[in-house]
C-alpha cells in the first residue's frame, strides 16, 4: 500500500481461542487481500474481547463461538452494547445452526464456516464492509 494514500483503515479485532486461527485471520488481512483493514487486537475469549473493544474501538470483529470463559454469543451481545455500529462476523465450525443464529440475533452480521480458505474469509470480510469483491 502506498504511503501517499491517506489511510482510512477499518479496525479489525480477532476473537478466537485458537492461536492458529487468530494468526491465520491476521495474515489474510495483512497480506492485502482485504485492503484498508488493520488488525488492532486479538482476544482469546469473550471477556478479553470486551476489554479490548473498549480500548481499541474496532469497526470489525471476527468471532469464534466456542471459547473458554465467555462464549461468542455473550461476547457478541456485549460488544454490540459497547459499540453499536460494530460489524461482527461469526467464524466457527458449523456445530449447531441454532447457536450461530443466536449470535446473529444478538447482532452479528454474517457467518463463515470453519475451515475456510483465505479467499472465503477475505470475501466475507469484504462483504461485511459492503465492498465489491
Amino acid at each position: 500500500m502506498s504511503g501517499a494514500i491517506v489511510k482510512n483503515d477499518m479496525k479489525l479485532m480477532i476473537v478466537d481461542d485458537s492461536n492458529i486461527i487468530r494468526g491465520r485471520i491476521a495474515r489474510v488481512v495483512e497480506t492485502g487481500k482485504i485492503p484498508d483493514v488493520s488488525v488492532v487486537g486479538m482476544a482469546r475469549n469473550g471477556s478479553e474481547a470486551l476489554r479490548l473493544c473498549q480500548e481499541r474501538q474496532p469497526d470489525l470483529v471476527t468471532m469464534d463461538l466456542t471459547m473458554p470463559e465467555m462464549d461468542g454469543i455473550v461476547c457478541t451481545e456485549g460488544l454490540v452494547q459497547i459499540k453499536p455500529d460494530v460489524r461482527i462476523l461469526v467464524v466457527s465450525a458449523l456445530r449447531d445452526k441454532a447457536t450461530a443464529l443466536e449470535a446473529l440475533q444478538k447482532g452479528a452480521l454474517g457467518f463463515v464456516c470453519k475451515p475456510f480458505t483465505d479467499d472465503q474469509l477475505a470475501g466475507a470480510l469484504n462483504e461485511l464492509m459492503e465492498r465489491q469483491t
Binding site: 485458537s18 492461536n19 492458529i20 486461527i21 494468526g23 491465520r24 495474515r27 466456542t66 466457527s92 465450525a93 458449523l94 456445530r95 449447531d96 464456516c113 470453519k114 475451515p115 475456510f116 480458505t117 472465503q120
Partner: protein, 157 residues
C-alpha cells in the same frame, strides 16, 4: 449390528481433506484404510479427538506426528512452534470433525468438544471401543498421519 458405513467414515476423511486443502493449499492423500489391531490403536505424537454418542457411540480422532504439524504450522504462516500451538492445531482438525459430524448425523447425535492430547490418548485405553477401529492412513507432504473411527461395543441382541 454396530456397523459404520463408508459414507460415515467419509464424513471424517472429508473433514480432514477439506481442512488441509483449505488451510494448507495441499490436499492429504488417503494412503491406506484398514482395521486396527485389537487394543492396539494407531496414534502419533499429537491427537485431536471427539466423542460421539447417539445413533452410535464412539470416538473419532486425528493423530499426527510432530513434524507434520510443524510443517502445517509453516503452511499456516505460523512461526511459533510451541507445544501449545501443535496441540491447538490437532484440536482444530478435530473441531472440524465435530462440525461436519453435527451437520451429517443430525441432532440425534451428541458430539463432544474436541480434546487435544500429546502421546497416547487416555480415551483409547478404554476397552469399550469396538475391537478393530477403522484406521485411515493419510499422507501429506511425505508425512503420515491417521484418522481413526472407533465405534463402541457391539450393539446386537
Amino acid at each position: 449390528m454396530s456397523d459404520i458405513s463408508e459414507e460415515r467414515i467419509r464424513v471424517f476423511t472429508d473433514a480432514v481433506k477439506r481442512y488441509f486443502s483449505q488451510t494448507a493449499g495441499e490436499a492429504v492423500e488417503i494412503d491406506t484404510a484398514f482395521l486396527a489391531e485389537d487394543g492396539n490403536p494407531v496414534y502419533y505424537d499429537y491427537t485431536g479427538l471427539i466423542s460421539i454418542s447417539g445413533g452410535f457411540r464412539g470416538c473419532v480422532y486425528f493423530s499426527a506426528p510432530r513434524v507434520l504439524l510443524r510443517h502445517l504450522l509453516v503452511a499456516h504462516g505460523e512461526a511459533d512452534h510451541r507445544e501449545e500451538n501443535l496441540l491447538d492445531l490437532v484440536g482444530e482438525v478435530a473441531n472440524n470433525f465435530s462440525g461436519n459430524a453435527r451437520e451429517h448425523f443430525g441432532p440425534a447425535f451428541a458430539i463432544s468438544p474436541p480434546v487435544a492430547v500429546k502421546g497416547r490418548p487416555d480415551r483409547l485405553k478404554s476397552d469399550g471401543f469396538r475391537r478393530r477401529p477403522f484406521v485411515i492412513s493419510v499422507t501429506w507432504k511425505a508425512y503420515t498421519a491417521a484418522i481413526a473411527v472407533c465405534v463402541e461395543g457391539a450393539a446386537q441382541a
